[in-house]
């Protein structure tokens, strides 16, 4: 499989996916208990 970081589009898509994953992590595992 090609490394997504080899292209600018792949880098941006990876960043957007990571943003969504981190948001879901914070929302469901860190902030949820408050």
């Amino acid at each position: 499989m090609k490394n997504p970081l080899d292209s600018i589009v792949g880098t941006i898509v990876s960043g957007l996916i990571l943003t969504a994953l981190l948001y879901l992590f914070l929302r469901n595992f860190i902030v949820a208990g408050v």
Binding site: L5, D6, I8, T11, I12, G15, L22, R27
Partner: protein
């Protein structure tokens, strides 16, 4: 307005714009430009006069950004880095910024020194260093998106996203 956080925020933004602006410059402008310049034999102008200056501002603005960010967190520094619920959003941003700073000084700069001939290296070592520096730089560009989301959101995140 307290004077220390006000100045820390100001410096954090100015240095952060310099740092991330140069990061985007490297990825969006310089890397593709060098590819074209290598084809017509004009790459030396960039590698000799532009890249070293850009890297100087890049690596030191990263340090200033992190220090001003730490000053801005002040007594909440520990709460942010341990992801306490009230500081979880900015804490994730702080962790991402820290990883990016380590990437700059631990991977990008040492490898760029070999690529640009500041540190002696064989052609094979240069090729390897070029690949590592590119991937580290692209990693930072990828990390900058969640970093900006979690750092720049402020109070709107509480209203819109519940963070």
């Amino acid at each position: 307005m307290e004077i220390v956080p006000a100045f820390a925020r100001w410096i954090h933004f100015a240095a952060g714009i310099t740092w991330i602006g140069l990061l985007y410059y490297f990825n969006l402008v310089q890397v593709p430009a060098l590819k074209d310049a290598a084809a017509d034999g004009t790459a030396a102008g960039i590698t000799k006069h532009v890249a070293p200056r850009a890297l100087l501002w890049f690596r030191w603005s990263a340090v200033v950004t992190w220090l001003a960010g730490a000053a801005l967190l002040g007594p909440n520094f520990g709460a942010a880095f341990t992801l306490q619920p009230e500081f979880a959003g900015i804490g994730v941003g702080a962790w991402l910024g820290t990883i990016m700073l380590l990437n700059v000084w631990g991977l990008i700069w040492p490898n760029q020194k070999k690529v640009l001939g500041i540190k002696p290296a064989t052609d094979e070592e240069k090729a390897k260093a070029r690949r590592i520096a590119l991937l580290a730089s692209r990693t930072n560009m990828m990390l900058s998106l969640p970093l900006l989301f979690f750092m720049a959101g402020g109070l709107s995140h509480r209203a819109v996203f519940g963070l």
